[in-house]
């Protein structure tokens, strides 16, 4: 309710509840001699402070382009990008670099430490470029950061004398040099063996614990899972996160179809979403809030079958097995937002993927068993 | 194919890697990239080498192509022990016996597509000079981009460049083609098309070895070899 309301007379123009990172309709199109190529198409998303987000997608899905947009390394051809209060898409190359120095730390796949500077100097470099701290403070701070990442002993060595894992840790220390709120990284473990990769991931997790926002592009599903939130791109478009969470085995092209055809609905607390014994018409995935799945008993009471939250789905049983709605679903004590697929779209999509179908079948079996149990207990 | 079959009257492997070890010596310590690799690939196979980043896939490919040298072990390709060849001998051998497709295409930027192919023919002298152009055009046609023959690489898309790279790898009609993450820089649809190309090559009798981190694409090969932390886990000698 208080969203986007600016109080008159306020000197602060900061918008309450505004996200740290806000993308609206961001597109990137390239003109090549082979025609126009769209890398990103109408991406809209928000990321709040303190989130650990992984950005995944197949090769060519646009995930690297997306993070390049967020870091200002690339510029959109359409849409707006607001990061830490700044309209990044308006800045020129030079100002972007200055802004980036203060607000964003970047960690590359190939470390990209400057080979002629020592590890310590690599870490003090961003501070010097942005004119932060005094010279002595910079050195102290850099040593402190190197200690945090566990390579304090290597401070005065040249990068070529460090292992890959150590170099990446140095790169993370460098990214932290100006204490930016956001860390962005693209395939940070791509050049590391499993042990070093683990150490690096733990570092990222500790950064998140300290309140930093970490964005990580990766093609490794195991790595992606370590981030609480995953953003998926397919062919330059954003897949609905909750759809992905709900139906993870669905191939990306089908998920994309589904994302394009979902309808979003809002329900007030306690509002009915699915009526018992109604005609099934939609498949639902929860994006906000909780729902209660209840089986009304003949005597007017109800049995609580399940409580579902964001990323979970309902309404599939009747659609797949045929027949009427098997239970009642209503919003819980808070407002609920769902995205829904129509029956036709749902069935098309599901039947196109054997794996998803079989997984759904298992879940349906589970649920119908519970139903039966609940029903028989009456 | 099981080990028993190879010991009997089966065909000899076209690529035979035995006890390959490769250790990288960095100032920060030694890092073993390949630990005792044994791998046999038979004529006509389409082998996908998969594994996580840093597991050693690229090192393996580089050792097979002779671009990198193992610290110990043997590599015999088409009967030639390439680990004993000098740089120049390797280069000459590669031109005629092994086509290499790189992840980043590695085309010569100043030459047009036709010339990018014909230079491979020129260096190896496989055909008479006056046939170079004709043969190169045919190859471009095979990979489906003959109409762009006179353009330079920067004027065509990534997928098209990779096709040219494949055509170049075939220029001297080698029996083996090795590709390192050939679709790593391409979108899904184009990647699929490239793999169609690969499959057609295999149908024509070529042996193909492809490194990829993309499991879906790897599934299209006839055999998958998995590398983890420098070692081949299972699937080493065909499934």
């Amino acid at each position: 309710m208080f969203r986007n309301k600016r109080r008159n007379g306020d000197v602060q123009v900061a918008i309450k509840d505004a996200s740290l990172i806000d993308l609206r309709g961001v597109s990137k199109a390239y003109k090549t001699d082979a025609g126009e190529f769209t890398a990103l198409d109408g991406v809209t998303l928000q990321i709040d402070q303190g989130e650990f987000v992984s950005i995944v997608g197949k090769s060519g899905s646009g995930k690297t382009t997306l993070i390049n947009m967020l870091t200002g390394i690339d510029r959109p051809t359409g849409g707006e990008i607001h990061v830490a209060g700044t309209a990044v898409h308006h800045l020129n190359e030079s100002d972007t670099a200055t802004w980036r120095g203060k607000n964003l730390g970047v960690v590359f796949q190939f470390f990209q430490l400057l080979p002629t500077l020592t590890v310590l100097e690599n870490v003090t470099l961003p501070m010097g470029l942005c004119n932060l701290y005094t010279r002595r403070e910079r050195i102290e701070r850099a040593r402190h950061l190197l200690e945090l990442v566990g390579i304090a002993d290597e401070a005065d060595k040249l990068p070529s004398r460090l292992s890959g894992g150590q170099q990446q840790r140095a790169a993370i220390a460098r990214a932290m040099a100006n204490d930016p709120p956001i860390i962005a990284t693209d395939e940070p473990t791509g050049n590391l063996d499993s042990h070093a990769a683990e150490a690096v991931m733990q570092l990222f997790e500790s950064l998140v614990d300290q309140g930093k926002t970490v964005l990580m592009v990766t093609h490794d599903p195991e790595l992606a899972e370590r981030a609480p939130r995953t953003i998926t791109l397919a062919n330059g478009e954003l897949l609905n996160e909750y759809l992905v969470r709900a139906l993870p085995t669905l191939p990306h092209d089908l998920l994309l179809d589904a994302t394009r055809q979902i309808e979003t609905s809002l329900f007030a607390p306690g509002e009915l979403i699915i009526e018992h014994n109604a005609e099934p018409d939609k498949f639902y995935v929860i994006t906000k809030g909780d729902v209660e799945v209840v089986l009304p008993t003949p005597d007017g009471k109800e049995v609580l079958l399940d409580s579902l939250g964001p990323g979970q789905f309902f309404g599939e049983i009747a659609l797949l097995n045929g027949g009427l709605r098997t239970a009642l679903v209503r919003a819980s004590h808070a407002p609920v937002e769902v995205v829904a697929l129509s029956k036709e779209v749902f069935l098309d999509v599901i039947h196109a993927s054997k794996e998803t179908l079989s997984e759904l079948a298992d879940i349906i079996t589970l649920r119908t068993n519970r139903l039966a149990l609940a029903g028989s207990s009456q | 194919m099981t080990t028993e079959e190879t010991n009997s009257s089966g065909p000899d492997p076209l690529l035979d890697l035995r006890r390959i070890v490769k250790v990288y010596h960095t100032p920060a310590g030694d890092r073993p990239a390949l630990k005792d690799i044994n791998l046999q690939v038979y004529p006509g196979e389409f082998v996908a080498v998969v594994g996580k980043s840093g597991a050693g896939k690229s090192t393996l490919i580089n050792v097979i192509t002779g671009i990198d040298r193992p610290d110990s072990g043997e590599i015999i390709i088409g009967g030639t022990p390439i680990h004993t060849l000098t740089e120049d001998q390797l280069a000459r051998w590669r031109g005629k016996n092994l086509g290499v497709v790189f992840q980043f295409f590695q085309l010569l930027p100043n030459l047009n597509l036709l010339e990018n192919i014909s230079i491979a023919m020129d260096l190896c002298d496989t055909y008479p000079v006056r046939d170079h152009k004709k043969c190169a055009l045919e190859l471009l046609d095979q990979v489906g981009i003959a109409e762009h023959a006179y353009k330079i690489p920067s004027k065509i898309s990534g997928g098209q460049q990779q096709r040219v790279a494949i055509a170049r790898a075939m220029a001297n009609d080698p029996p083996v083609i090795v590709a390192d993450e050939p679709t790593g820089n391409l979108d899904e649809r184009t990647a699929g098309e490239i793999f169609d190309l690969f499959e057609s090559q295999v149908e024509q009798g070529r042996t193909l070895l492809v490194v990829t981190h993309d499991r879906e694409i790897a599934a299209r090969a006839t055999r998958q070899v998995e590398i983890t932390d420098g070692e081949i886990r299972g699937l080493g000698v065909g499934s």
Binding site: N68, L120, E121 | N62
Partner: protein, 837 residues
């Protein structure tokens, strides 16, 4: 765009008309030519050259510069030798001249009869004045010979007009005619010493190679017949005998010896007096052009410069080829991966260099010829000779081809060899943010300099990354800087040398007076001129230096001077100047030492004056001052030898005792002095100012210096180009680093700074090295130039001015040569450079 024809299309089917058959045939031929193509590898080379025009052009230009420099300088020398020195030799140049009391042609015949003498030519030379239309007087030398049809020595040619002037006719030397704006038919007014004026008509224009031309000397030259002289009231005698000796014609000592013999055996025994014996020219040897040693010296310097240009262009070529190969590293890896062996690769890049060299040669050959044409014509105009044809010397062309084709191939071989050695792995995977060898001593030193402002630190470390490349650039810049500073030192030394000589003519004006006057009257007369505060009467005479064995040596001049003279400020090499009571002590100059090397302070010299031998003690030796061997003595000492203690032969005056006056003031004083003394009947000569004396020197000096400065400037340009090329290469290889800088917050200014600071650092480093080299280099250059002009050793003066100016120049070079690469570095977007992940 695909080729439509296939081979063997038959062009003569039924019903086709001729036109289309022809078209068909033509397109068949085109196809065949197209098919008979170059192998792809040569097409690659051509496309590489065309694709990187800037770098290719840089290589071509560097080669062209070296080739052109050689061509210009050496072909000029060739043409000079042919058209100047050759023509000079062809006209029978005199070995030695004797200035004799009035004589007739019989004496000439008598001398010619000597078997040591090959030929003689009698001359009458007369100083006069030419009164211009506006009344201004010009000094003019009139020359008369017995028979214009039979010139034996120093033959001049008549370009326009009649053969030999008749009565009342005058022939002008062509430069004098130009300078005075006279042509055939014009009337000139000649004023003789006794102030009589005569009108003569210009009947001919002469080209005289043997006299210093009007534009240099300032005096006009003209030729008249003896009849005309008689008509002008002059006595019909000759006063100079030019002689060509029979043997050893180039030997200075021999020529002087023969002249002495002629004087002793023939001339003086016949009752004549020989006033002076001299070898024509400025420090020339017998038979040489009057400016030969100066020209030789000048050309020597230019040749040194051209050698330097070759080295520098070689350095530029190496740098550029290395750059080309650096750019090509990835491609070399690709070529090796698809079958290219080292031999083929080397062949490709050698061909690359060859094509560039050929283009450079094609550019440099005509440029060199153009330069030779310009320089030769310039020299011809200045030295008054004719250029017969602008043709190159075949051996020079051969040299140019060698330098243009072979030198680049030789210097490029090392980078090509090492560049093609790279393995496929390194070429494809390590290129870019690779770690070069950082273990050197310099790097360790730099590692100690830490934690400064990041761009500065990065720049300093970056400077030393590619040590070989840095070395080449440094060599180029250091040479340029050392040359530049040497030029300034040369200028300082030359100026110093002139100032040193000036000490011996420390007057504002001087005037020769008539013989027999007393010194006191002369000085008194001079003091009467308003403004004059110093007037010294000097007396002089000639003597013969006696050798230890009693034989006669060279003629020397004796001077009676005031011991406290103000108009001479002697620089003593040894001993002391004259004292008031020196009766036997004399001071000699260093020129005398050349004639008698065993001279030193404390020794004695014996001089024969008026047939009496006198022995003196040397109390001091002063530096050379371009006036021949001299002995300075007090009036009394002079008087004892000659009996002319109280006389004066010349007066030297100054306006102020404290300093020398300006040239304008000197000129005014000289005119007054002359007029005053002539009116008083005390002198018939014209007066000289100090600035006039040096004017004839400083002219050529300034030209030499100007050329040297221009060449130094060119070297600076070449150095700047080299640095620009290096910086461009460095930036190109470090694009990833620039991307990283951007990624961590460097704005455009910071990125530019990193590049520019590196450029300036290289420049400053080269400056330090230049300074170290400039000392010895300066000594060598200054020595060569001064010796060429003065035939004297240099008194080297190091120019700190040159040091300071080059510091400014090198910083500017560093900044400007880095600006373009810096700008392009700043323009790169992060995405472009990090794309390659």
């Amino acid at each position: 765009m695909t080729h439509q024809n296939s081979s063997g299309v038959y062009c003569g089917s039924e019903g086709t008309d001729h036109g289309s058959v022809v078209k068909c045939l033509i397109s068949n031929v085109k196809y065949e030519m197209h098919v008979m193509e170059l192998r792809t590898r040569w097409r690659k080379i051509i496309k590489d050259i065309w694709g990187n025009k800037t770098r290719s052009l840089l290589v071509i230009l560097s080669i062209a510069v070296g080739v052109a420099a050689i061509g210009m300088i050496n072909n000029t020398m060739y043409m000079l030798r042919r058209d100047l020195f050759g023509a000079h030799s062809a006209g029978n140049p005199a070995s030695v001249s004797l200035y004799v009391s009035p004589f007739d042609t019989d004496l000439a015949s008598a001398v010619e009869a000597m078997r040591e003498v090959e030929s003689v030519q009698a001359h009458r030379t007369l100083s006069a004045r030419l009164i211009r239309v506006d009344g201004a007087p010009e000094d003019i030398q009139l020359d008369v010979i017995p028979d214009f049809d039979n010139m034996a020595i120093n033959q001049y040619s008549i370009e326009q007009g009649t053969e030999g002037p008749s009565v009342r006719k005058i022939m002008m030397e062509r430069r004098s005619a130009e300078g005075l704006d006279l042509g055939i038919g014009d009337v000139v007014t000649i004023e003789t010493e006794d102030k009589q004026r005569y009108s003569l008509i210009v009947s001919g224009i002469v080209h005289d190679l043997y006299n210093i031309p009007y534009n240099i000397l300032g005096d006009a030259s003209a030729y008249v017949s003896m009849d005309t002289l008689r008509w002008m009231g002059e006595q019909p005698y000759y006063n100079r005998l030019d002689v060509i000796v029979a043997e050893n014609q180039g030997d200075r000592e021999h020529a002087l010896d023969i002249a002495a013999q002629a004087r002793d055996r023939v001339i003086e025994t016949s009752g004549y007096e020989v006033y002076r014996i001299a070898i024509p020219g400025i420090n020339s040897d017998p038979g040489q052009h009057w400016a030969q040693s100066q020209i030789n010296g000048f050309v020597l310097v230019l040749q040194v410069m051209s050698v330097l240009a070759i080295f520098l262009s070689g350095g530029l070529v190496v740098n550029s080829i290395s750059a080309i190969l650096s750019q090509q590293i990835r491609q070399i890896g690709i070529l090796r991966s698809i079958g290219g062996v080292r031999r083929q690769l080397i062949g490709m890049y050698v061909a690359n260099v060859f094509v560039l060299s050929a283009l450079g040669l094609a550019m440099g050959l005509p440029l060199g010829m153009l330069g030779a044409w310009w320089l030769t014509n310039f020299a011809a105009g200045y030295l008054n000779f004719d250029v017969t044809a602008i043709t190159p010397d075949p051996s020079v062309t051969l040299l140019q081809v060698a330098v243009g084709l072979i030198m680049p191939l030789v210097v490029a071989f090392v980078p090509i060899f090492s560049g093609t050695r790279i393995s496929v792995y390194d070429a494809i995977y390590q290129y870019g943010l690779s770690s070069e060898n950082q273990e050197g001593g310099i790097d360790a030193l730099l590692a100690k300099v830490r934690n400064m402002h990041p761009p500065v630190m990065l720049s300093l470390r970056n400077t030393f990354r590619k040590k070989a490349r840095l070395a080449f650039t440094l060599i180029t810049l250091t040479l340029a800087g050392a040359m530049f500073m040497s030029v300034f030192s040369t200028r300082a030394s030359l100026t110093g040398q002139i100032n040193q000589i000036a000490r011996y003519v420390a007057f504002d004006a001087s005037l020769n007076v008539m013989p027999g006057l007393t010194r006191s009257s002369v000085e008194r007369e001079a003091m009467r001129i308003p403004g004059v505060t110093v007037a010294e009467g000097w007396v002089s005479g000639s003597g013969i230096l006696m050798r230890a064995d009693g034989s006669e040596g060279d003629e020397i001049q004796l001077y009676g001077v005031p011991y406290d003279s103000v108009t001479i400020d002697p620089l003593l090499i040894d001993g002391r100047w004259l004292l008031a009571d020196d009766t036997n002590g004399v001071v000699v100059n260093d020129d005398l030492l050349e004639r008698k090397p065993d001279t030193s302070v404390g020794n004695e010299i014996t001089v024969k004056v008026t047939d009496q031998e006198r022995t003196y003690q040397i109390v001091g030796i002063v530096t050379k001052h371009l006036s021949g061997p001299r002995v300075y003595m007090t009036y009394e000492t002079f008087g004892k030898a000659t009996g002319r203690a109280n006389q004066a032969d010349m007066v030297r005056v100054r306006l102020e005792a404290a300093k020398i006056s300006s040239p304008a003031a000197q000129k005014r004083l000289a005119a007054e002095l002359e007029e005053h003394f002539q009116d008083a009947g005390l002198s018939k000569s014209s007066s000289q100012t100090q600035s006039e004396i040096f004017g004839s020197f400083t002219g050529p000096f300034d030209i030499i210096l100007m050329v040297l400065v221009i060449m130094a400037g060119l070297l600076a340009v070449v150095g700047g180009l080299s640095l620009a090329g290096t910086m461009g290469m460095n930036v190109m290889e470090r694009t990833r680093e620039i991307g990283v800088l951007r990624a961590v917050g460097a704005n455009s200014q910071a990125v530019r700074q990193v590049v520019v600071i590196e450029g300036v650092a290289v420049g400053l480093l080269s400056w330090l090295l230049s300074v170290a080299v400039s000392g010895p280099a300066g000594v060598v250059l200054a020595g060569a130039v001064v010796y060429a002009v003065f035939k004297a050793p240099v008194n080297f003066q190091y120019s700190f001015e040159g040091l300071a100016i080059w510091l400014v120049v090198i910083v500017l070079i560093g900044v400007f040569s880095s600006l373009a690469p810096a700008r392009s570095a700043a323009r790169l977007t992060v995405r472009e450079v990090l794309d390659y992940e």
